[in-house]
Amino acid sequence: MNALFLATAYLRYHLWRSVILVIVAAVILSVPFISQTLLRGSEEALTSRAEATPLVLGSRGSRLDLVMSALYFSEEATAPLTMAASEAVWDSDLGLPIPLYTAFSASGARIVGTTLDYIEFRGLELAEGRPFAVLGETVLGASVAGRLGLGPGDTLVSSPENLFDLDGVYPLEMQVAGVFAPTGTPDDEAVFTDIKTTWVIAGIGHGHADVINAAEVEAGNVTASAALIEYTRITPETLDSFHFHGDPDGFPVSAVLVAPWDDRSGTILRGRYLSQENPVQAVVPSEVIDDLVDRIFRIAALLDAVAIAVGAAAAAAIGLALFLSWRLRAPEMATAFRLGAGRYVILRLALAELGLILGLAAALAAVCVYVVWSSRESVVAWLLAL
């Protein structure tokens, strides 16, 4: 008890030194648990979403980029397909095609242009509002809605793609129709809208309405300024004027998720895209993700070894700091000895100080691990979307 009192007093007096020691020790203790938690969470998230997605069609190229883009809405950009690829699946009657167009973003979230089939395919449920119904409407993933503080009735403007947009393609102001319930998947981090709405953002579809600028909205007049943000707004009055030019089969899509009716249909579909001459490839996400997870865990094993070495070095540094501290406290120990302290008293003092540091570090590490563990789904979804 006396040793604990003296150790506490010493650590409190040298507060910053103690805090640094505790933080370093907490990092050493928590990093292996946090990395394992995130690795296992990533593995679960990757594999469960991949296994729930039987087939993905995309442009021939990196299979991994295609899967990451189509399933996790990552920033890996794959060359776009045309809507014809989706129509071909539909016409084959071998499965349900779900086109995705993920070329744009809004306030840091990926805009996923798709069809209502996607909602049913992923089993998404609405927490508020209703699904997108007309051009320009959007449904937000739970994390996006929470982060931006948006709900049904609010608006969200797509991010400008080019500051010097000479084509006259402006960001689109979208009406929030609903918010999905949290799923712990990348769907929480996305903004969903009808694929036609994303084609409007791409400039393929347009209405015969004036472009709105922010200053005009706020001040009621137009002011020439470099700070003006111009965007397109779809209103009930202008909705009918929106139209698309060209053949819809030639409109871009990033990928097409396919839910074959059965195994046989899936096999036939895959066979149709085996030829290297075909610019479209069919990828089974679980095969790609299994390869990725294998690689991640091989790298993780290496990182674990590095982490152990770094942890050992940091622990040695802590030990050295404590050792030097005790050397500096030699006069104090001499005084204690003169006042009748035994060697075990001094040992108890050292152990109490070490125990307090490790105890506080363990508590801090436990809190960090708990925070990461309890929010692992969001963290993993965010990591996968990077």
Partner: protein
């Protein structure tokens, strides 16, 4: 109170021989002598921190050199108080906790309310009763030495060993602190054995022991 007979102690290039020395109970004795002559070594021998090669050191009825290591620690904690030139206060403890420090580390001592009350009473008598919650860094040197004197007396020791206790103080404070030490020791019935270089203070002691009478120092007796 303290008696030393045929004491002999040495380490490389140093030798100390004290044929006979005694200090009566309640007496205030000063040890004087040149630097390096072994005055502090003698205090350490009396405290049982060093063991003599030969001879006896008795404090009261106890021959300290014959005690086991553990018994010597307990004896030192209970019967001997130390006052150091550098005060030897712990900067991370308050004055109150510094006074009570022997109860936290001393063998065979336990901290209870009586000890706390005694610490407060001693501090009041030493004029620092209102500053017990301050750390040493917030006290003057004279106040720090008062804290050290309280710490030396808090366990009711029979013998106070003071090693240059006034060496770090200004002339005016020296006298005050020494008088304070003597007064409090007298109240407690404690004997004082003090090493000092300060000849101006010798008149305040009951007795002065000149180390020149012993064979002591580097190469002494060689």
């Amino acid at each position: 109170m303290l008696s030393i007979d045929a004491l002999r102690f040495s380490y490389p290039e140093f030798r100390l021989e004290v044929p006979s020395l005694s200090v009566e109970e309640g007496e205030r004795a000063a040890i004087v002598g040149p630097s390096g002559s072994g005055k502090t070594t003698l205090l350490n021998l009396v405290a049982g921190l060093f063991l003599p090669e030969a001879g006896r050191i008795r404090i009261g009825e106890t021959e300290i050199s014959s005690l086991s290591d553990r018994a010597r620690r307990t004896f030192r904690a209970r019967r001997i108080g130390f006052v150091f030139q550098t005060f030897a206060l712990l900067d991370y403890l308050t004055a109150r906790e510094n006074i009570l420090y022997p109860f936290r580390v001393g063998s065979g001592l336990s901290l209870d309310q009586a000890a706390r009350d005694r610490a407060q009473a001693l501090a009041d008598r030493c004029g620092i009763g209102g500053k017990l919650d301050r750390r040493p860094g917030a006290l003057s040197q004279g106040e720090q030495q008062r804290v050290a004197i309280c710490r030396a007396l808090v366990t009711r020791p029979g013998l106070i060993l003071a090693d240059e206790a006034t060496g770090n103080l200004d002339p005016a404070t020296k006298t005050l602190i020494l008088d304070l030490l003597f007064d409090r020791a007298a109240e407690e019935g404690a004997t004082v054995l003090a090493v000092t270089h300060d000849h101006d203070l010798l008149a305040r002691f009951d007795r002065v022991i000149d180390f020149a009478q012993f064979r002591a120092g580097r190469g002494a007796g060689a």
